[in-house]
């Protein structure tokens, strides 16, 4: 009996041990995922656009460093509703940060040759002329564009501007004396005749002191052509209602803004048309005659649709030779706008000739390069295009003018690249040729792996691996270079180890930058605190 009792006790103890050990295990199971995170690759975007906004006179990014200004951007055009911020948001107005804006096309839209994605960026910034950029892409990828804005009070080379306050109109908006305004360079003159009635867009008369702001953009100076509102690659509305894309060969451009004493903008003139006169330099190239400008040449006039960033055909003017050996064009208008005398070149190809870059001392496998195309006839700037080139992998320039000889220059900016020749003469950018270019590199840096993980302060158990552009520069200069980050990782090339660098990302009108000295392990990790807007409205946290 005693023996049984002892054994029973042992058994009971064994049984209890088994139960006791098992119970706490079950409790712990409720915390199985404690400390883990939900980590997502935010790689929904297939087509992205990085836009850089520069002051045309200074060449500095607008909003850079202590300058907190932000360019407001509205989107128009065929795919306007598909244009998103890189994060997937779609505000009515997008805002740049530090001079950068990151846009994307909704991934539901797949651009193709037969169905390209098209939209127009229109910029607004107090003190600057409104500008625009028509964008057409036919395949998924990452694209970079530069937009140069003209500071009204500090225009770039080739832009001559005057603000005239001499005019006056009565309570009915009737101009009391002729208002004659000529730009300081003497190239453009506008005359508003006495008796002209000036009205706002809503029909109200413009009364009191009349201010006329007149600016002339040279058709030969590089800086003024860079800042050409709407760009020279543009979208035009033809008289038959059709929309066409092509390139302007400019004879000159004037912007004309008229305000009354309340700074209400005049929209239209009545009773008398407003007279515009502009001189055309003799070096001007007429693309319709494929030669220099001449007396009697027909010159189309275009007005700018400020809201949509497109040009509307107005009429054909005639170029006259003056007795001073110059050419001039005179036209009359009933509404105020930007006025542009240009020949339109509609021969385009979506994919230009193949360019094969190669180099034996390639520091990086691939580079972002900028092609700048100029007119061999007079050296005038025509267009520029950023593209991504890898060693011995042919690339094509997109949407380039066909059947037209050009000079083309390749620059790597900031990364110390240069080509064998200063420029390359190409007969036809759309020819089925291969252009071989040898690249040379001045600097030999290292590759650095840059990793970012995004987080929301209100939910530490959630992590985002972003897909977006990364800008970087040495801390001691402002020359930004670009790399693309995919799922939180960017392979950044040509970095000098041990030197401090600034890395920055832009999204949702927000700029975040890091100053880091890449060490010899060539790896940088940073956390990105996402904005409340993204955490709440995009990620739903």
């Amino acid at each position: 009996m005693k023996k049984s009792s002892t054994l029973f006790k042992i058994a009971s103890i064994g049984f209890l041990i088994a139960i006791i050990l098992t119970i706490p295990s079950c409790k712990k199971l409720t915390n199985l995922t404690e400390g883990t995170k939900l980590i997502i690759d935010y790689n929904l975007i297939k087509t992205s656009f990085t836009i850089k906004f520069y002051d045309a006179a200074t060449g500095i990014l607008i909003g850079e460093a202590e300058d907190n200004r932000s360019v407001d951007v509205t989107i128009f055009g065929q795919n306007a509703n598909d244009v998103l911020d890189i994060t997937g948001t779609q505000p009515i107005t997008f805002h740049s940060a530090e001079g950068f804006l990151a846009l994307a096309i909704n991934p539901d839209v797949t651009p193709s040759l037969t169905n390209p994605a098209k939209f127009t960026i229109v910029t607004h910034l107090d003190g600057y002329l409104t500008n625009s950029k028509a964008i057409t892409v036919y395949k998924e990828g990452n694209y970079i564009y530069d937009i140069y804005l003209v500071d009204i009070n500090n225009p770039p080379n080739g832009v001559s501007r005057i603000s005239n306050h001499s005019g006056h109109s009565n309570n009915e908006g009737v101009v009391e004396e002729d208002i004659i305004v000529t730009t300081p360079n003497g190239m453009a003159t506008v005359t508003i005749y006495a008796g002209t009635i000036l009205k706002e867009g809503n029909g109200n008369p413009c009364t009191g002191t009349i201010t006329v702001n007149l600016a002339h953009f040279s058709n030969l100076e590089y800086e003024s052509l860079l800042a050409f509102p709407g760009g020279l690659e543009t979208t035009v509305n033809m008289p038959d209602g059709s929309v066409d894309e092509g390139l302007f060969f400019s004879a000159g451009f004037i912007s004309l803004d008229v305000f009354d004493e309340n700074w209400s903008t005049a929209d239209s003139a009545y009773i008398h048309a407003v007279n515009m006169q502009m001189f055309v330099p003799e070096e001007t190239y007429n693309s319709s005659t494929l030669g220099g400008v001449a007396d009697g040449d027909i010159l189309p006039l275009w007005s700018y649709n400020l809201n949509e960033g497109t040009w509307d055909f107005e009429l054909n003017d005639t170029i006259n030779a003056t007795d001073k050996g110059l050419f001039e064009v005179i036209s009359n208008t009933w509404h105020f706008s930007y006025w542009n005398w240009d020949w339109f070149w509609g021969e385009y190809c979506p994919e230009g000739l193949e360019i094969n870059f190669h180099s034996e001392d390639y520091t990086c496998d691939c580079y972002w390069l900028k092609a700048t195309i100029t007119n061999p006839y007079n050296g005038a700037y025509m267009m520029s295009s950023w593209f991504y080139a890898c060693n011995n992998e042919p690339v094509r320039l997109l949407y380039v003018p066909a059947f037209f000889p050009v000079n083309i220059t390749f620059t790597g900016y900031c990364n110390g690249l240069y080509t064998e020749l200063d420029y390359y003469y190409i007969d036809n950018l759309c020819a089925a040729d291969i252009l071989d270019i040898t690249l040379y590199s001045e600097t030999i840096g290292s590759n650095v792996l840059f990793e970012i993980s995004g987080y929301c302060p209100n939910n530490p158990n959630f992590e985002v691996r972003p897909t977006l552009g990364v800008w970087f520069r040495p801390a001691n200069n402002w020359c930004w270079q670009y790399a693309f980050m995919y799922n939180g990782y960017a392979d950044i090339c040509n970095v000098i180890l041990g030197e401090p660098y600034v890395f920055g990302v832009v999204y949702d009108g927000h700029w975040t930058e890091y100053t880091v000295t890449p060490d010899y392990d060539a790896y940088i990790y940073q956390e990105l605190e996402l904005t409340d807007d993204i955490c709440t409205n995009v990620l739903g946290l």
Binding site: A11, I17, K28
Partner: protein, 235 residues
């Protein structure tokens, strides 16, 4: 953890030493009771059982009135799914339970016994979750497949010592049928975690995350194994 190992070691030592003690005691008892009890004959039985590792079969060999050896296996494959409407996610738990056992019963009374041995545990558990609807991330609609799915596989160690206590006998000496009930603990070590994810949540399944879950599971190293067994004596 040291305590746990000590306890298990102790129990195993006790378990292993008991047969000899009990057998010698029983042998004396048996000798004394030869006249009133029928002579013991080692026998074989086959049994079916239902356990917390699933149903199974077992072959039982009795060596004495106080000691049996059992060899068997269990198998159960089932899954449970549930849609969590509030988060639009379907969760599934798949249990792939499979084990083979080599156990010894040591009887301390006629119907009360300790059982110990080794279980070759091939069980695995899969827990998975996948979205059932499209989601909007900003103005972008993300389909369920694009968002992806996540699965976690929990694999215990394969060789697991077992200790339990039971009532009844898996092999009867005088009857054809017998019943045995048992409860015990299976030590399966630290379960190994394997995560797999697809789509946007692919990086969730990282080695670091697996290690965090494995660490969370470190105290879950015993499995409560309950058994009800019905045996038929063969000879």
């Amino acid at each position: 953890m040291k305590n746990l190992k000590t306890i298990i070691s102790f129990l195993l030592i006790v378990l292993l030493s008991i047969p000899g003690i009990i057998y010698s005691q029983n042998y004396e008892q048996t000798s004394e009771n030869t006249k009133i009890r029928s002579e013991f004959k080692p026998g074989w039985a086959i049994s079916t059982k239902v356990t917390t590792l699933g149903p199974g079969l077992e072959i039982v060999k009795s060596f004495s009135r106080t000691f049996n050896v059992r060899v068997g296996g269990t198998y159960l494959d089932f899954s449970v799914s549930k849609e969590f409407e509030n988060i639009k996610v379907e969760g599934t738990a798949d249990f792939d339970l499979q084990s083979y056992s080599l156990l010894g019963d040591v009887f301390i009374t006629k119907n009360l016994h300790f059982t110990g041995g080794l279980i070759y545990n091939l069980s695995e558990e899969y827990i998975s979750a996948r979205p059932i609807n499209s989601f909007n991330i900003g103005h972008i609609t993300v389909g369920p497949e694009e968002l992806g799915s996540l699965s976690i596989k929990v694999t215990p160690e394969k060789y697991c010592p077992y200790f339990g206590i039971g009532i009844g006998n898996p092999i009867s000496y005088s009857k054809v049928f017998s019943i045995n009930m048992e409860i015990g603990a299976l030590y399966h070590g630290y379960p190994k975690i394997d995560m797999e994810a697809t789509g946007m949540i692919t990086p969730t399944a990282s080695v670091i995350q697996e290690e965090i879950i494995e660490n969370n599971l470190k105290s879950f190293n015993l499995f409560l194994l309950a058994t009800i067994q019905l045996s038929i004596k063969l000879f």
